[in-house]
């Protein structure tokens, strides 16, 4: 079985958010990009399936601008992925989720993919749309919010839990399949230094924009426009309650929630 993992570089969680000059997005100047959290779980799950001898090879794919794309691919190689593909996409105009999925689909058509893994959503825009849209373009069934993904060799089926509100659905589905992963069996591993050094020289297959761009030209012209990116006014900090006894603190808080914030049930 061949696994393809699609990943996205996102601003590091500690990034101080600033608005870019045209006001429509994050100012990416000087921002450190890392592998998105749920994508780390997707890579982890792929490597676990390979170690369990379910998968023979793991390819990691990203679609985006340089240098962040190569950086996350090299990190995924350092973690243990066998192959990496970078689909070159210019920073502007920004493709929306459906266009991104179409670009990835153009790339994935070139490789065997019995299981396509993506993270549930990326921590920057938190939409979770690329995976399902990619499923549609590749003609694959997809499940989102997946936990405990296993391969039942006897029945040739994947079994897993699909997290839904209020619980989880137990699902079984044959390959080929696309899974938006919420959690791997283990916490994601971190790369070891010698592997990080080795990954600097690892080959990365490149698919130039000219080969995938035409498929999304029309979509890019009219897809969702981001018209503004706003940061909330800096929080002034909590109104700290003054009190002599715990009961006084409790009563003050209840009154404030009722009369000022109006959120008391």
């Amino acid at each position: 079985m061949e696994i393809v993992v699609c990943v996205k570089p996102v601003p590091d969680a500690e990034t101080r958010l600033r608005v870019r000059p045209d006001g429509t997005g994050l100012d990416e100047e000087g921002v450190k990009f890392v592998l998105a959290g749920y994508d780390e779980s997707a890579v982890e799950q792929a490597l676990l399936l390979k170690e369990a001898k379910v998968a023979t090879g793991v390819r990691v794919v990203t679609a985006g601008p340089s240098p962040r794309s190569e950086e996350v691919l090299r990190y995924a190689i350092a973690l243990g992925c066998d192959h990496a593909t970078w689909i070159e996409v210019p920073a502007d105009p920004r493709p929306d989720a459906v266009a991104t999925a179409r670009i990835l689909a153009e790339g994935l058509k070139r490789y065997p993919h019995d299981l396509v893994l993506v993270g549930k959503h990326a921590s920057d825009r938190e939409a979770g749309l690329v995976g399902p849209a990619l499923g549609e373009f590749l003609g694959l069934t997809d499940y989102a919010g997946v936990v405990d993904l296993r391969w039942d060799a006897g029945r040739s089926l994947f079994t897993f839990l699909e997290s839904v509100e209020g619980g989880a659905l137990r699902v079984e589905a044959p390959a080929p399949l696309l899974v938006s992963l919420q959690q791997a069996w283990n916490d994601p591993r971190t790369a070891k230094l010698p592997n990080i050094l080795k990954s600097r020289k690892a080959p990365i297959e490149r698919i130039p924009w000219t080969e995938v761009g035409p498929a999304v030209q029309e979509r890019l012209a009219r897809s969702a426009q981001r018209t503004a990116f706003r940061l909330p006014p800096p929080r002034t900090g909590a109104k700290l309650l003054e009190f002599k006894t715990p009961d006084e603190a409790a009563e003050k808080l209840v009154r404030l929630l009722k009369e000022e914030a109006k959120v008391f049930p």
């Binding site: 459906v98 399902p132 509100e165 989880a168 900090g237 209840v254 959120v263």
Partner: protein, 327 residues
């Protein structure tokens, strides 16, 4: 230009999920045309009645024996079939896990402009749709404009009011399940496993959430958090420190690698406020923090803070809430 509004309703355990009803209410306020609801699953008079009570004038029922509506691959085929009647519709869904999944699939299949997690939405006179959504775990807001004949939007639970019920009777049309031969091999749902949560509402769907953190110190103290939640009718959450320590299962975790919540009121008990936790709850409307450490980062984002010992404050607060609610 007026747009037809279709709401794809999601059902769980025989009931319409709240965000689907909120989508019907929003559809009524946005469109002059009657709102059409689409349900995929076994036909249920109770489901049809609650959609009609929320304001759907028509219910299109696509029959499928699976109460969970089969896979989203099947959903998108079935909904796209219904959409043939509505070439310029605005499709609304709840931004649940399955709802977002369907937005992605429909966006691709129907070549629609689409967005998930909207917290405000308006339709311009030219028919384009504007709105906003929280990004970066609520640390920023993105405004968007969607144009073109086909638009799909998933709305964040609780961002829009629950419609006041009407007494209208539903006009139900039943459609046979479309054949998806040649379509992807479908999976099969073999069961539903309710989350290991304490009683009370579902975490991502609750209007009040009370979460406990490292400050609770031990699994056997967590009942303090749960009793406060119960007094408020709130869902119980936890920081990663708590789920990592195994005091509560990971299904309780709020944060970047857990659940994102956006309730009206979030009460953080003994939570210091690491950025990874804040990323899961910053878009809550009102935040209350209870912590012994006055320098804890949670106080920077909270609206109200109590610097004190949670082992004294929380039981007092539970008593005060019960008294105020006449419990």
């Amino acid at each position: 230009m007026s747009r037809a509004v279709l709401v794809v309703a999601e059902c769980r355990e025989g009931q319409v999920v709240p965000s689907s009803l909120e989508a019907v209410g929003l559809g009524r306020s946005l469109a002059s045309d009657p709102v059409v609801a689409v349900v995929v699953g076994p036909p249920s008079p109770a489901v049809h009645a609650s959609l009609a009570a929320a304001g759907a004038a028509r219910v299109v029922q696509v029959d499928h024996p699976d109460p969970h509506g089969a896979s989203t691959a099947f959903w998108s085929t079935a909904v796209a079939e219904v959409l043939k009647e509505f070439p310029d519709a605005l499709v609304l869904l709840g931004s649940t896990i399955r709802g977002r999944d369907l937005v992605g699939r429909l966006g691709a299949r129907w070549d629609a402009a689409c967005v998930a997690g909207a917290t405000s939405l308006t339709v311009d006179p030219d028919g384009s749709v504007r709105g906003s959504r929280p990004v970066f775990g609520g640390r920023a807001t993105e405004e968007f404009r969607l144009a073109g004949p086909r638009i799909v939007v998933a709305i964040r639970p609780h961002a829009f009011p629950r419609p006041s019920p009407t007494s209208a009777a539903p006009a139900v049309e039943t459609r046979a399940a479309p054949s998806i031969s040649g379509a992807p091999a479908a999976g099969r749902v073999t069961g539903f496993q309710p989350a290991e949560t304490s009683q009370g509402p579902e975490l991502t769907d609750a209007s009040i959430v009370v979460s406990g953190g490292r400050g609770v110190r031990a699994a056997e103290n967590f009942h303090l958090v749960e009793e406060l939640a119960q007094s408020l009718g709130a869902a119980v959450g936890a920081s990663r420190a708590v789920t990592d320590a195994g005091w509560r299962p990971t299904t309780f975790q709020v944060g970047q690698t857990g659940k994102s919540v956006s309730p009206q009121l979030y009460v953080a008990v003994g939570i210091s406020g690491a950025i990874q936790h804040l990323a899961g709850m910053m878009s809550s409307r009102v935040i209350v923090a209870i912590n012994t450490d006055p320098t804890a980062p949670i106080f920077k984002v909270a609206d109200y803070g109590i610097v004190g010992d949670l082992f004294q404050i929380v039981p007092a607060l539970t008593r005060a809430v019960r008294a105020a609610r006449g419990q």
